[in-house]
């Protein structure tokens, strides 16, 4: 009795019915060629498993556990986030932020730099965009857990980045109405991302943060950098107490 390749594959894949499986197993005892064909298929399976099964034993990344438990994910367009992340990874993060700075930030930054060259919220040093003036002060001193409602800078979340730096989101409550992310690098708050603030439609004419809604570009930057959870009030105070040295 001869067995087709299809039958051999179905046998290895557990797809044969009892009778066909028994017939093949009986034949294998005497048909060395058939036994060899089965062994070849089993070897292939084993090689694939030894290549990919170690993934099963890896710790599950926090972000995936969070995503599996996130009932609020409905509103998100996951694919967009993913594509941007891929882009960010292929270039190194500093390159990416430099490119983002030239493409996106330029539009937002230019007026701020020009308005108040000495006391504006942002400055450029060695090609890096750094927080300055009131923004730098607020990032270093202001606690999200304890800030005035009408402070010119509103500090959002603080977290430890995968580069080992403390990072904080902020919102400027001036005409620029931007939200940004800055990380403490080498003694300065270096800007990572900046975007137009998501505004609540309050009608009051003032810029107000829509509750807990970071602009998508900032959220993506946070997601790309954050390790673990944002700091709680205690962690934030402790980080400030240590002058943002991790």
């Amino acid at each position: 009795m001869t067995f087709s390749d299809e039958t051999v594959m179905a046998y290895v894949d557990g797809e044969l019915d009892d009778a066909a499986r028994a017939a093949l197993e009986v034949a294998m005892r005497t048909d060395t060629d058939l036994a060899e064909r089965v062994a070849r298929e089993r070897t292939l399976r084993a090689r694939l498993h030894s290549e990919f099964d170690p993934v099963l034993r890896e710790p599950i990344p926090e972000r995936l556990l969070a995503a599996a438990n996130d009932t609020g994910a409905k509103a998100r367009t996951g694919n967009l986030i993913w594509l941007k992340r891929s882009a960010a990874r292929d270039w190194s993060w500093p390159q990416w932020s430099a490119i983002a700075a030239s493409l996106v930030l330029g539009v937002l930054i230019a007026p701020m730099l020009r308005h108040q060259p000495t006391e504006g919220p942002l400055g450029i040093r060695d090609g890096k965009v750094l927080a300055s003036g009131a923004l730098a002060h607020a990032l270093s001193e202001q606690l999200a857990s304890n800030q005035l409602a009408n402070a010119p800078v509103h500090v959002g979340i603080s977290f430890l980045s995968r580069n080992g730096d403390y990072c904080r989101t902020f919102m400027l409550r001036d005409r620029s109405a931007v939200t940004g992310l800055a990380c403490w690098e080498g003694g300065s708050w270096r800007l990572q991302a900046l975007a137009a603030t998501v505004q609540a439609t309050s009608g009051s004419g003032e810029y107000q943060p829509a509750a807990s809604s970071l602009p998508p570009a900032i959220q993506q930057s946070v997601d790309a950098l954050i390790v673990g959870e944002p700091l709680d009030a205690k962690g934030e105070a402790a980080a400030r107490g240590n002058r943002w040295r991790p």
């Binding site: 390749d5 299809e6 594959m9 179905a10 894949d13 557990g14 797809e15 070849r40 298929e41 292939l44 399976r45 090689r47 694939l48 498993h49 290549e51 990919f52 099964d53 993934v55 099963l56 034993r57 890896e58 599950i60 990344p61 972000r63 995936l64 556990l65 995503a67 599996a68 438990n69 996130d70 009932t71 994910a73 409905k74 998100r76 996951g78 694919n79 986030i81 993913w82 594509l83 992340r85 891929s86 882009a87 990874r89 292929d90």
Partner: protein, 161 residues
Amino acid sequence: MSPRNVSAELVTLLPRLRRFARALTRNLHDADDLVQVALERALARAQQLRPDAALAGWVFGILRHAWIDELRARARSERVFATEESGHNVGDAGQGAQAEMLSVQDAMGRLPEEQRLAVALVLIEGFSYKEAAHVMDVPIGTLTSRLARAREALQAMLGES
């Protein structure tokens, strides 16, 4: 809210979803990004899931769709981010296989996408032909012929050792 705890079921599937995504993308970060997209889409559509439906096949199907979407987006933008093999070597399976012994990852990378999916679902994830055909949205005969061609190509590329 769905009466079944989809989140809890998804968490138990995470190791397998990551393995499946790794076999498709052959890149740690792309794979986890893909799983994340699939999780988000699955939760957004959890209402559509019938109470008695098998979650695994459903989620693997969502992940497969997300991957195809990503490949199309990459082709559209003509930018290839990470898996340079996925594009220009499609159809090369077999060619040059005699010349060198390839790693399992490289051999998988040289398979056409549909064949790689078939291998990942049946040979790695252990789905039945019926389940795998359902995930891939093709008749069982199409699945088995893809599997057969994929096996032949992999055996040729990997040698007999």
